[in-house]
């Protein structure tokens, strides 16, 4: 059983525990850019050479690792970590016609660079892995941690999800039609009725172990699926709930990954038909934007709600009368193909 003890988040929004929780930062040139901390725990010499996803990932992990005793491994999920350095190096290859190149960007371009840097900085020689399966990269990282803890319940792991809006990746995804063409405010994301999402970025990290003692939340189950058929997705969610929801209980809160893209909306609407009348529905992608590992930020929100039982009013799609959020279901859909269900409880 996987218990979450600490969380850290870098996102386009403020921390939910501070300030005015109803305030929403808005898009800047169609992008929801993360608010980065000062990264005091990253040695300055190393920080200077880090691309944004690398410093967000490392920067979100080190504060948790500093607060914990020795951990047994680092498990990251990132679809495109290192992508920016990758294209930087590629540009060098083309511009200098394969001449004498500097290897810095090449070394930073490998997908495992965040977990590798974390091991290096913290001298952690334990389990170390990076899952990069696009819209299920973070889900596989979480599943990996669940399996590690199932085998070694006394262990502790750092699990994280991170991706950035790199200029080159943004260009490719723009050409591919992933983002909204029109200028709209993220505050109006869900009423847009057009194709595409608003792109975002961020990192969320979780210190997890097998002990309920002092934990914020418990990840009870996770399931993933590749399909373009909304009926199959709904059928699988139904099976997931039958198998994993305790008998006699319902989902108190549905944390929806709805992203304002009219191509993925039918999946969310189909799944919502499975919910009970007293299930509240909350959305977060108008705050985080969408990206391959946005579900890591979704889990971060779930942990905050499980802990504080407070949800900003502006996040509700449907507010049910019940105000105790015990069973939280997350559903995320990436590009209409990659689906995940995560059941979180505050036990």
């Amino acid at each position: 059983m996987l218990y979450i003890h600490q969380t850290y988040c870098i996102s386009p929004q403020q921390d939910l525990l501070q300030d005015d929780i109803e305030r929403i930062n808005e898009v800047d040139d169609k992008k929801l850019l993360s608010i980065e901390p000062s990264y005091e725990k990253i040695p300055p010499g190393i920080l200077r050479r880090m691309g944004k996803s690398i410093r967000m990932g490392v920067g979100a992990a080190l504060p948790l690792m500093a607060e914990s005793n020795a951990i047994d491994g680092i498990i990251m999920g990132s679809a495109n970590a290192g992508m920016d350095d990758c294209v930087k190096f590629l540009n060098q290859i083309v511009q200098y016609e394969e001449g004498q190149l500097t290897p810095g960007s090449f070394v930073q371009s490998t997908g495992n660079v965040i977990a590798g840097q974390l091991a290096l900085i913290s001298k952690n020689k334990g389990y170390n892995i990076t899952h990069i399966h696009l819209g299920l990269a973070f889900e596989n990282a979480l599943l990996d941690a669940m399996m590690q803890l199932n085998t070694n319940p006394s262990n502790a792991y750092l699990v994280g999800g991170v991706d950035e809006i790199s200029p080159f990746h943004y260009n490719i995804e723009t050409l591919a039609g992933s983002y909204k063409k029109e200028d709209i405010s993220n505050k109006n994301l869900y009423g847009s009725d057009t194709e595409g999402c608003i792109v975002g970025e961020g990192a969320a990290t979780f210190m997890v172990n097998g002990s309920a003692d002092g934990a914020i939340a418990n990840v009870k189950a996770i399931s993933t699926l590749h399909s373009t058929d909304k009926d199959l997705v709904k059928q699988q969610l139904n099976l997931f709930l039958q198998k994993n929801l305790p008998v006699g209980s319902t989902v108190d809160l549905f944390l929806s990954g709805e992203n304002g893209d009219k191509r993925t909306l039918p999946f969310y609407e189909a799944n919502e038909t499975l919910l009970a009348d007293d299930t509240s529905i909350v959305r977060y992608k108008h705050m985080t934007g969408d990206f391959a590992t946005a579900s890591a930020l979704g889990l971060w929100y779930a942990c905050q709600f499980a802990k504080t039982q407070q949800i900003p009013t502006q996040m509700f799609k449907k507010k049910a009368s019940k105000t105790i959020y015990h069973n939280i279901l997350l559903y995320n859909n990436f590009k209409g193909l990659q689906h995940s269900f995560i059941l979180v409880s505050n036990f």
């Binding site: 930073q108 840097q117 892995i129």
Partner: protein
């Protein structure tokens, strides 16, 4: 099992070439224009993209060589196992694949798309590493868990591990595990900028080694639980695995080789074997100054007198994200045929280590084989395969 590499397009061809000590590394690179073509040696697979597309009957646009090599090897593995289409599509069949290059083999297309010099090529969805397994998902209509892992050059060893973990934890009844990578201008220039590419055919574990040669290929294995085998063919048992980090440097291993030492030790522990039970080590043995020295040091630390060992990088080059899976197939061939394959191009032991790898093909009793894979970012993984 299925495999494609510079020494053969099937398991049988690879097996014959290993026995015959055939070197597949040549001063030949005709997949794309590069100033290093003809100057540096490479382990290129002897099938063109056109022939791959034709043989595999792939008509989709935007499919990369990395994906085509993966499908080519996977078709073999599926045919070899006799697994039905229905079983492939079952919700309890997982597909876990690794690669590090993805669509980066298309250097020029990516350059143009990433810098918005065009309206977009056919490859917009093919650059990231996940694109390979998404292509396979679509091709075979897979419903079970699918994952892509990148731990640099140890990636596919971890894909094998992850598949085994899914089965042990009840998330899958069977797992299709493997890796693929194709030669790319990107990796050629990257490793060259690090000054670890040899301009001669690589000589793993040799005192005079000058660096690695890049290769390409793919391999897949199908894992099933013992209780589900029901009399069908079994090649070997995966008895041990371990993943660690050397935590020393982004692109080289520590002098003492803590990462490699700990991964080998952890795999032994999981397999419940003492070090003396390992008959053969399929070493990572890239032919770089750093890797071979450190791997030797770590083997001596753990085994005192290491068992017979060899690297096949002198036969096929370093296939990066495919290496762990291809070498898993080679390790299993050693178990099935009770034989070991030579480490090519070896002349003199590394002075500081004094270790001599197996240099000729020979028959010998092989009950347990350890296979090592180490990568950038300090990632180290060891697998142990045992005689079925």
């Amino acid at each position: 099992m299925g495999v494609v590499s510079a020494i053969g397009n099937s398991v049988a061809e690879n097996h014959e070439a290993l026995k015959a000590a055939t070197c597949g590394i040549q001063y030949k690179l005709d997949l794309f224009p590069s100033k290093y073509a003809g100057i540096l040696p490479f382990g290129q697979v002897h099938i063109s993209n056109e022939d791959l597309l034709k043989t595999l009957q792939v008509t989709d646009l935007g499919v990369t060589r990395t994906s085509l090599l993966a499908l080519y090897a996977l078709n073999q593995a599926l045919a070899d196992s006799g697994i039905s289409t229905e079983t492939i599509q079952s919700f309890d069949t997982a597909l876990i694949g690794a690669n590090t290059v993805g669509g980066m083999c298309l250097t020029d297309e990516l350059y143009n798309d990433a810098n918005q010099k065009t309206d977009g090529s056919d490859y917009l969805g093919s650059y990231d590493c996940a694109s390979v397994n998404l292509f396979l998902q679509k091709h075979f209509k897979i419903n079970g868990i699918i994952n892509t892992i990148n731990t640099a050059c140890s990636s596919s060893a971890n894909a094998i591990m992850y598949g085994a973990m899914l089965m042990n934890n009840g998330y899958a009844k069977r797992a299709i595990v493997g890796g693929t990578d194709s030669l790319a201008k990107f990796t050629i220039n990257g490793f060259n900028a690090l000054h670890i590419l040899s301009n001669e055919i690589c000589t793993p574990f040799d005192e005079g080694r000058k660096g690695l040669n890049l290769g390409e290929g793919a391999a897949w294995l199908i894992l099933e639980k013992e209780e589900d085998i029901k009399g069908r063919k079994v090649y070997a048992e995966l008895t041990g695995y371990c993943n660690t980090n050397d935590a020393y440097h982004p692109s080289s291993l520590s002098d003492e080789g803590d990462g490699p030492y700990l991964s080998m030790q952890g795999a032994l522990k999981l397999a419940n074997l003492t070090a003396d039970k390992i008959d053969f080590i399929n070493a990572h043995g890239t032919g770089t100054e750093n890797n071979d020295q450190v791997e030797s040091r770590a083997m001596i630390r753990l085994f005192e007198t290491p068992p017979a060992f060899a690297s096949t990088k002198g036969s096929i080059g370093h296939t990066l994200g495919a290496a762990g899976a291809i070498e898993a197939v080679y390790s299993i061939l050693s178990l099935v045929h009770q034989e070991v394959y030579p480490n090519l191009h070896f002349n003199n032991p590394i002075t500081a280590a004094g270790l001599t790898p197996v240099t000729t093909y020979k028959k010998m009793p092989v009950n347990h084989v350890m296979s090592n894979s180490f990568g950038f970012g300090g990632n180290c993984s060891s697998l142990i395969f045992s005689k079925a």
